[in-house]
Amino acid sequence: MEQIEFDYPAANRHITKKAHVGVVGSGDMEVLMEPADGDGARVTITTSVNGFQDSWKAVFDRFFSKFDGAVKIQINDAGATPGSVLLRLEQAVEVIEQ
């Protein structure tokens, strides 16, 4: 198991809603997305698969190139592929932007 953290200080748009999507099942993960405590976005990942920090970084760099919300994201992961990670994140954004 590994814990990974990223900061995206440029994501500063104010967010009011929360979203919880996904399940920590094989090949899947859960996302808890809520308004950030301060400025910028912060991502905390707990994953049961070690050694993929670079892949996580690439997924979040891409995600925050389109999304600018000041959110606190917590992820509990049970081996989701980068594609599923992005889909779960987009699903969470859909909930908070509703």
């Binding site: 198991m1 399940v23 920590v24 859960e30 809520e34 994953t47 049961s48 992961d77």
Partner: protein
């Protein structure tokens, strides 16, 4: 002819099995008449899984929702089968026990509150073994306290099924609702094969598994009360009926003599087949809470 013309109702139904644990619980309530208790943002998660290198889940795979079902007070406790096989650990067990105890407290104070348990579980979480075992004991004693005042309705929809310690919780419930995809048993097929050999039980023989553990057989034998199609609306309406019906007249787990006599009457000199057992036991319509 298209499939939709042959089975229009079946095809257009909303599957219950395809919903996740939270959606299943939500689907049972009257519209907008529910609140989740100790939800994922409360972050009450297992402290034991990360110590063993396993990612936890923010709700520990146990979803508790309180609200109105058919206008009556009810609490639904749903186990998420996709997270650690729906297993019961310290936190998920405590959530379930607390929900049942609060329902008992409300019921004793005059506000009857039914409990619905959506069990998709292999039983105790092995990573939290002793705490999980303690949790099962607490859950069972809480069910026994509540079922005198209000119905405790267990739903086993599939596809995980309900095995191990939680099958005992199903056994002491007022009513048990199953789909034909669901399985219910104390020992799961793999466990039986592992302990008694492949001659005793072949865990790769799916027809055998469903003939023994399947919903059709369990309801047929009187060990569960209702066999419902995998349809969210049909399951919800069955639950509404049981919530409305109130506590069971006589619980299955109180009929000790009936079951002892049934087992004593079995001829074990030859192999008993599931179908004949079903016919023999279903003749007694008094079995089961609802019968």
């Amino acid at each position: 002819m298209s499939t939709a013309e042959v089975f229009p109702a079946f095809v257009s139904r909303k599957s219950f099995i395809e919903l996740d644990g939270r959606e299943r619980a939500q689907s049972l309530f009257d519209q907008n008449a529910w609140t989740e208790l100790v939800g994922p943002f409360d972050r009450v998660e297992s402290p034991w899984l990360p110590m063993q290198g396993i990612a936890p889940q923010a709700d520990d795979g146990c979803i508790v929702i309180k609200g109105k079902i058919g206008g009556l007070s009810a609490v639904v406790v749903s186990l998420e089968g996709a997270f650690q096989g729906g297993s019961i650990g310290e936190v998920s067990g405590a959530k379930m026990t607390a929900a049942l105890d609060l329902a008992t407290k409300d019921s004793e104070a005059g506000k009857k509150t039914a409990a619905v348990l959506l069990l998709e579980t292999g039983g105790v979480r092995l990573q939290e073994a002793n705490l999980g075992l303690a949790a099962i004991a607490e859950v069972i004693s809480s069910i026994l306290a509540l079922r005198q005042h209000a119905p405790v309705i267990t739903v086993v929809a599939g596809t995980v099924g309900c095995f191990g310690g939680m099958s005992l919780a199903a056994g002491v419930s007022s009513y048990v609702v199953m789909t034909k995809e669901a399985r219910l048993g104390l020992n799961g097929p793999e466990v039986i094969e592992q302990e008694s050999g492949i001659d005793e039980f072949d865990a790769s023989d799916r027809a055998l598994i469903w003939a023994i553990h399947g919903g059709e057989q369990r309801v047929g034998m009187g060990e569960a009360d209702a066999l419902v199609e995998d349809d969210a609306e049909k399951i919800a309406s069955t639950i509404r009926e049981y919530v409305k019906a109130g506590p069971a007249f006589e619980h299955r787990s109180q009929q000790v003599k009936l079951y002892k006599d049934r087992i004593a009457a079995l001829d074990t000199s030859q192999q008993i087949d599931p179908m004949s057992l079903r016919q023999e036991w279903s003749s007694n319509k008094n079995s089961g809470g609802a019968r």
